[in-house]
């Protein structure tokens, strides 16, 4: 609006320039016009600055909760103790070990179907071409990401769909001395089996996962066995065609 006012003022001053004694008045008008223009520019700048400030403030406000989330880590003790509390609660409520194991497996399954999303989002791995690659991925990337350990993989069968992950350090049993005598067949870490099974199912790989050896039961190492159930149509053949 002031620009229009300035323009009309300029027209008016142009019309008045013929008169010599209006020269002083004309100069004053021009000076006033210049000052007004400068003020207008300054106001516009301040307005811009205000907008920029508000925008940056709101974006930083909306970003800061995200920024705090970026460490994405919690203490290992809290996780391990929470898992222990869960198993203890289940043992209190179910009498039979098989029931507890089944319950842990079910819970692990529902964790696994969600964990796979987080895993794929954070690791950005490419599609695995074979079962052995899948087993390697689970051992070297997934376990490392979520439990901080790297089990070793070994292939158990000639057909190439049975693998075992050998865990020499299992963080879930950090605080477990040994199983009580009346719970001799409890699979303490059965949640892990469910997690692996659920995660594999979400990427269309049916598998059976179970504990083959367990240190808590007296074996030398903890061994998780993954058996991939072959799908009716073999995708690998189709790709080779």
């Amino acid at each position: 609006m002031q620009r229009i006012g300035g323009a009309s003022a300029a027209l008016q001053t142009a019309a008045n320039t013929s008169h010599a004694k209006d020269r002083g008045a004309e100069r004053r008008k021009e000076k006033r016009k210049r000052i007004e223009r400068r003020l207008w520019c300054l106001r516009k700048k301040r307005y811009k600055l205000t907008i920029k400030y508000i925008r940056s403030y709101t974006s930083s406000m909306s970003r800061s909760p995200g920024r705090k989330q970026e460490n994405h880590k919690i203490s290992r003790e809290l996780f391990v103790l929470t898992y222990g509390a869960l198993v203890a609660q289940l043992c209190k409520e179910y009498e039979k070990d098989e029931d507890v194991n089944a319950c842990l497996d079910r819970m692990g399954y529902s964790i696994g179907i969600r964990l796979i999303d987080d895993f794929l989002a954070r690791s950005a791995v490419k599609k695995c071409r074979s079962y052995s690659e899948t087993a390697d991925m689970i051992a070297q990337v997934a376990f490392k990401m979520y439990l901080g350990v790297t089990p070793s993989v070994s292939c158990n069968s000639v057909t190439g769909n049975e693998f075992s992950l050998i865990l020499d350090k299992n963080p879930l049993v950090d605080f477990v001395e040994e199983l009580p005598a009346e719970r001799a067949s409890l699979c303490y870490c059965n949640l892990l089996c469910g997690v692996i099974r659920g995660a594999l199912e979400m990427v269309h790989l049916a598998a059976e996962v179970s504990f083959l050896q367990d240190r808590l039961k007296g074996d030398a190492v903890t061994e998780i066995g993954i058996t991939f159930l072959r799908k009716p149509e073999d995708r690998r053949h189709r790709r080779n065609k």
Partner: protein, 222 residues
């Protein structure tokens, strides 16, 4: 019971209580916690019961977390004052378990037994969205149970509950005996009975008289 001790030495007992070696991903804990809550939810009939169950689980965790933590953070000393243990809770305990200190520690204006630990966003609630019909549910009841176990095991029996106030507030209500004991300890100090207390000093009671930093203003009870 005897068979347990003769079956062979467990490697867990031989390990040194060093600093915790690694941190785990928050996603794993969040999913485990969600399963925990779902499991409890299937077995209860009301919000209060659900919070009680979560508190019970937190209790289990807190009891076991305290010993190792005290051995690491306060070796050779024991907290004997209410203020000392609360500052320990707000600082080292919260940092060791949740990765950051609690935001504020306040005392109620009218009640000397009640304290508040305030957190804008507790770690256990990171991925929890509460539906409207359960709007009084605060999964930080887990943290409340944890805190209750810690305070009880440290010799300061209290009741802790979780509320929606300034984010999440854990309201700690100490027993009468605790406050009375605290007062008598203070009087013993102020009264200058250091001569009598000298005999007790050999028990390595911690005497930090500096009240340190409070957080924020006191507020009225919720």
């Amino acid at each position: 019971m005897d068979a347990r001790f003769t079956r062979g030495k467990s490697p867990v007992l031989e390990r040194a209580l060093g600093r915790p070696r690694s941190e785990l991903s928050l996603a794993a804990f969040a999913l485990l916690f969600s399963e925990l809550v779902q499991y409890c939810q299937r077995r209860v009939a009301s919000v209060a019961e659900l919070q009680a169950r979560l508190a019970q689980l937190g209790h289990h965790v807190g009891l076991r977390a305290l010993d190792a933590l005290v051995a690491r953070e306060r070796p050779g000393r024991r907290e004997t004052k209410v203020l000392g243990v609360l500052l320990f809770v707000k600082g080292p305990l919260w940092r060791a378990l949740f990765g950051r200190e609690a935001d504020k520690l306040e005392q109620a204006n009218d009640d000397e037994r009640t304290f508040y630990v305030i957190e804008r966003e507790p770690v256990v609630n990171t991925f929890v969205s509460v539906p409207r019909e359960n709007s009084s549910l605060n999964c930080a009841a887990f943290a409340a149970g944890l805190l209750e176990a810690v305070l009880g095991a440290a010799g300061f029996p209290a009741r802790v509950s979780a509320h929606w106030h300034k984010g999440t507030t854990l309201m700690i209500k100490f027993d009468e005996a605790v406050i009375a004991r605290d007062k008598s300890l203070e009087d013993a100090e102020i009264g200058g009975t250091a001569g009598l207390g000298g005999g007790r000093d050999g028990d390595s009671l911690e005497r930090d008289g500096d009240t340190g930093m409070w957080g924020g203003d006191s507020l009225e009870g919720p």
